[in-house]
Symmetry: C2
Subunit: 373 residues, 2 copies
Amino acid sequence: MSRTETVRLEDADGRVLAKKLIAPRDLPHYDRSIMDGYAVAASGTSVDTGALLKIVTGTRIDPGECMQVHTGSQIPEGADAVVMVEHTKLDGDEVEVLAQVSPGQNIGRAGEDVKKGSIVFPEGRQLKPSDVGLLASLGFIDVTVYERPNVRVIPTGEELVPRGREPCAGEMNESNGVMNLLYARRFGGAGSVHGIVTDDRKKLASALVEGIGYDLIVTTGGSSVGRRDLIAEVVNSMGKVLVHGVAIKPGRSVALGFVEAEGRKTPIVCLPGYPSACAIDSMVFVDPAIKKLGHLPPSQYRTQKATLTREIISEPGYRTYARVAIENCMATPIRAKDAAIVNSVSQADGYVIIPEGVCGFGAGSTVEVTFLE
Amino acid sequence: MSRTETVRLEDADGRVLAKKLIAPRDLPHYDRSIMDGYAVAASGTSVDTGALLKIVTGTRIDPGECMQVHTGSQIPEGADAVVMVEHTKLDGDEVEVLAQVSPGQNIGRAGEDVKKGSIVFPEGRQLKPSDVGLLASLGFIDVTVYERPNVRVIPTGEELVPRGREPCAGEMNESNGVMNLLYARRFGGAGSVHGIVTDDRKKLASALVEGIGYDLIVTTGGSSVGRRDLIAEVVNSMGKVLVHGVAIKPGRSVALGFVEAEGRKTPIVCLPGYPSACAIDSMVFVDPAIKKLGHLPPSQYRTQKATLTREIISEPGYRTYARVAIENCMATPIRAKDAAIVNSVSQADGYVIIPEGVCGFGAGSTVEVTFLE
């Protein structure tokens, strides 16, 4: 994805530079005082403790003279150092210097922070507020950044009814659409949600065709291998399923591939319908896809070491994402049955990721908890 | 700050609930199959490996019968378990059961996830995408949340000129305003930036009076004790400076207090003008202020253990925030002089926070690096 846009600095936080930025001028662009005090000529003549200097005004000083300056003031001609006001004593139109001064002291030289013509930031830099501050100091008012990947979320399932309508038995309010819209935004994308699509080949195909205009398609539901799980089949009919089923739990029925039409090829991630599986697969597969498309650096999740209060059993051969609640560096696994109780949702703080080759961790083990969301 | 607003679920990520949410119905709201397969009567009669069950349709089954169900299907009357389709063999209008089935198996009972009338989330919950998904499942379409604290950023300094204008010697383009606007947003606030205010008591006072209409005022520049550092004086004239100067470096000249007019009292943080000091003080003081005002949980910064490649010296009595670059778990302190060079800005990955009572850390020490921004 190489589309770019120009945004004002006010809107540039977290955005990724689409081209390197060259300093249009020195920073600072003049020799300046970095303290409040008096500019003096420290070299040649000795400005030592006890020296008395005559205060002058204007744009230059001679030996034996000094000029009052503030932080940011231009250094007058003839001066090569600044004595901090705290190290002086005012005596009529003279100043007594109370400390030794060496040439260059308390002066910021032109170009010392940034040299005119140097690279301020390379292409691909993700801007943070202090970066934006630096660019503002250099006189930038806007920057050219990569567009946010445009993600189309397509919720599927004939049991789904829109929010705002009371579901009958056998029906459910659609929820994965909005959840994945919010994930897409958190991951750095822009997103929108298609209306609910029932488990019908033609309707699914038509939603995917419309999705080809986006940078990434994310479907939810129907990714398994049941009679109503048609997504993989439809993707194969207009592109290719490259991966179907992965060794992670929850979330093993995810499918990855692309759809293609009119010379345009769009990647697609087909997420399972179970909310917990859908959420894990979104973090494991949709996040890096958006990062890649948007030239964004990978997510760095916060982690914390903790001691397990009871064992976690996992199925060997699967990478397992086990929800835990954390209190005082103790991690309590949330049992499958507990996970059905609403309070456990609030209690789940993070995940212990159990590698494929391990059957779990015993009570008392030290584990690393990852705060995925 | 107790103002609230109602936002759609699509806009609820990261927002804080202003009141607890009560489940308007059970989740699921009916007994449902959690697998594709066949609903059977497992209790009383034995449905054992090898049993042959007649497939029926409709809304109820009798012993010896079964009904095809999908994930999410309502469980027919008379059934109390679901056999996964993988554990069956279809034989005409009969199904052979290939595994043992126990009552309740593969059935999600009404209210098992959330009981109608129970508290889904308490007041103060900061919503994440999976929370929003749960609320969507329960039929919510919007939520009442606390408003984002409205932050007024006031850049001050007579040396400042607006961006878009080329600064002369002795002038600088204003940059702390936009940096702090972006910080305020990252911390969870809404923000806006006042025009540049020169170091003039009357103009400063007038900007602060206007700022009283906001939830938090953040000024930049003029917080020190020089002749032009008037902020503290002006704050005291219309409110109170509670703290002026703190033992942290960079950033020791910060002032904290409040301004008051017409019965309204607004907290104020006066940040120093040096960008690095301004940034640290923003993270140390503005962040928690916004969190407190917005009922938000405290920031949890990512940290990493690393080995110092060379020593960091800090002044005892000050908590020092030392910038470091990280590579392969090795942290290289960025020297004060290096920090003036632009590449060091890109290289600085995080901070080593050196406590007040310590003079620094030697080369080879293991330190914790905090990724503040």
